[in-house]
């Protein structure tokens, strides 16, 4: 046995949720028993969540993996000297098909280094983008972001460069950069994984945004349901400040940018950008009427950039390697990579970063291995609770903004939730209305009242009451919601509801329960 040993084990909340800490404890114990000095590096996650807790050891510069580990597996790992023929050995991690098939730009450090190791961050390319931003003019930075074709990753897909240019050109004594880390969509965890695994990338992107538009203060609005991400981000901000990478003299450039973390408080609608700004001002999370847009008048009425975590995190690479390299990835008007999140009833769930354009089928069947239960896939919801339900027959749809829009669906934040054939789609439609009723900010009547009516009406449909008439009423309510809502909460709730009705009509009983006369006699 070697005298000193370096092992890598994820500290990501998902890994901890299935026992990574117990594995860590057992590793320490066994190392002590074997008289080995253990350097246990707690990294972010590789995103192969079905293999968590995943532990790695480096041999000849190559990381070899083992997982999913339980505390009871640790003893045999030591006995077999972490050899590749251990029953839980995965071989070289980066050679695994799940890793090979990806283009890891955003997540290249995730799962590799300790998220708070600033030297490791810099060694692996960190700060390169920020240094370019410091050296060049703000106009050049905005020009690069525009030329890259980067679109917002929060859901709406708005071109980032245009937003930045607007805020940069708005005259004001103070401007703000607000990072939307509210990640409320079911089936999404890409923001969380990035913040827990490589918080420096987001900070770097925010500083660049600040320099580009002339903002000296940034806020990260991070959902309270992510306690681990909050702790990691707080520690990362402190570490950056201590190094002089954040603050009054960034990297000795004389330029200024300060960053403050603010927690959400359990409201889905606060992910909507103007509600988020209200919340950041200490108010109820009510959606604001637009115009004015935040880039002109946002936080405290000042020009404000609101961008998703992944949008901001995409910027450092665009500056470091050039807009053209980024633009070369992807399809049509969907450029760069997207962090797809495979979730729900799927055998191999996790985060998969790839250029736009691969099909749902490839992702779910080839990489995801089909359903966890082994039953047939029946429905897939893409893009969070406001996204459409698609039937198994539509799995060949390419994952890109325009193709999804054409199919009456949306990519949103890239969450993909798989359901097997036991799902009751009428119940899912009812839930979508219930969720809207629960989370509505209350500002407009169609959303506030219509969602409650919608849920009640779908409950009647499920009971088989006056199905045709009630479904017609649901459809009418959906039209009112679509046309009369101020924001996408009410405006898009019809998407899951109507797609469920359209594609899975058989689940919405067409007449009162059939009585089998031969049995009743």
């Amino acid at each position: 046995m070697t005298e000193s040993l370096t092992l890598f084990l994820s500290r990501d909340a998902a890994a901890r949720s299935v026992g990574a800490d117990a594995v860590a404890q057992r590793l320490q114990q066994l190392a002590q028993q074997h008289g080995t000095t253990l350097d246990l590096v707690r990294t972010g996650s590789r995103g192969m969540l079905w293999l968590e807790p995943l532990m790695e050891i480096e041999r000849d510069g190559v990381r070899h993996g083992f997982g999913p580990l339980g505390p009871d597996d640790v003893e045999t790992l030591f006995e077999q000297d972490f050899a590749d023929d251990h029953p839980l050995a995965l071989g070289p991690v980066e050679a695994m098909s799940w890793m090979q098939a990806q283009t890891r730009l955003l997540y290249r450090r995730c799962g590799v280094i300790d998220p708070l190791d600033l030297d490791g961050f810099e060694r692996m390319g960190g700060l390169a983008g920020l240094r370019v931003a410091i050296a060049q003019s703000a106009t050049d930075t905005i020009e690069a972001v525009t030329a890259s074709g980067l679109r917002g990753r929060g859901g709406a897909g708005f071109p980032a460069g245009i937003k930045w240019k607007t805020a940069a050109e708005a005259p004001a004594d103070q401007k703000y950069i607000c990072c939307n880390a509210d990640e409320g969509d079911s089936g999404t965890f890409a923001d969380r994984m990035l913040i827990e695994g490589d918080p420096g990338l987001l900070i770097e992107g925010m500083v660049i945004a600040g320099l580009a538009v002339g903002a000296t203060q940034g806020f990260i609005y991070l959902r309270s349901e992510y306690p681990d991400a909050i702790a990691t981000m707080r520690a990362a901000i402190a570490a950056w400040e201590e190094r002089g990478w954040l603050g009054d003299d960034i990297l000795g450039s004389g330029k200024r940018f300060h960053l403050t973390l603010r927690r959400g408080a359990g409201s889905y609608v606060c992910g909507e950008e103007s509600a988020m700004l209200e919340s950041l001002e200490g108010k109820r999370g009510q959606v604001r009427v637009k115009p004015p847009i935040p880039a002109i008048s946002g936080l405290f009425g000042k020009p404000t950039i609101v961008n998703n975590v992944l949008t901001l995190a995409s910027v450092p690479d665009i500056l470091a390697h050039g807009a053209a390299a980024y633009q070369a990835l992807g399809n049509e008007r969907s450029r760069g990579t997207q962090a797809f999140q495979l979730a729900g009833n799927v055998k191999r769930g996790g985060l998969f970063e790839a250029p736009f354009g691969l099909s749902l089928r490839e992702l779910i069947e080839t990489h995801g291995g089909g359903t966890l239960t082994g039953r047939p896939i029946r429905a897939v919801q893409v893009g969070g609770p406001l996204g459409a339900y698609l039937p198994a027959s539509m799995l060949d749809l390419p994952l890109e903004y325009e193709a999804f829009a054409a199919a009456g669906a949306m990519l949103g934040h890239g969450g993909i939730v798989v359901f097997d054939d036991t799902v009751d789609m009428a119940r899912q439609a009812e839930f979508a209305m219930e969720f809207c009723a629960e989370e509505s900010c209350g500002k407009c009547t169609p959303c506030r009242i219509g969602s409650v009516r919608g849920a009640e009406t779908l409950a009647k449909v499920r009971r088989g009451e006056d199905v045709e008439a009630n479904l017609a009423l649901v459809e009418e309510l959906c039209t009112v919601l679509t046309d009369g809502s101020l924001c996408a909460m009410g405006g898009l709730t019809p998407m899951p509801v109507m797609s469920a009705i359209r594609h899975f009509r058989e689940d919405f009983k067409s007449e009162p329960l059939q009585v089998d006369e031969t049995v009743v006699g």
Partner: protein
């Protein structure tokens, strides 16, 4: 329910820590909720005085956000994810099982553990692939931590 002098002082300290800034109200409410398991009317009154905003405003904010309560909540309570990805792997059935066993739980919508559902938070501890047994074990473990 009147707050003791020390409680009043801790609330004022929380407000001071955020520079008595009204825009930090949500942060302040989080800290008070954590320290006192709720934001009572009395606490709201102290915060209002300290930040120089109206009590009605604080009550409005408190009632808007699911994280804040007027009456005490157990810090180690089970918060079960009831959102779609967890529904797809039996979150509703798990909730029903907990109900039958008389285990109290609350609903939350997505904990970012959607590939390892059903997911739950016990205090600040995330549990994946939750079952009644795993939740009971995690609850017992959380108790020891504090």
């Amino acid at each position: 329910m009147g707050l003791s002098k020390t409680n009043r002082e801790t609330i004022e300290q929380v407000c001071a820590r955020y520079g008595h800034r009204a825009d930090a109200l949500i942060e302040i409410l989080h800290d008070v909720q954590r320290a006192h398991a709720c934001v009572s009317d009395e606490a709201a009154r102290i915060i209002a005085g300290s930040l120089n905003i109206s009590r009605a405003e604080i009550q409005g904010v408190r009632s808007f956000y699911a994280d804040f309560s007027t009456t005490p909540r157990a810090p180690q309570r089970i918060r079960l994810c009831r959102a779609e990805a967890c529904q797809a792997v039996g979150a509703d059935q798990l909730a029903a099982e907990l109900d039958r066993a008389g285990t109290p739980h609350e609903a939350v919508y997505c904990l970012g553990n959607c590939a390892l559902g059903p997911a739950a938070l016990i205090g600040e501890r995330l549990v994946g692939r939750a079952t009644p047994d795993r939740l009971a074990a995690a609850s017992a473990g959380s108790g020891q931590d504090d």
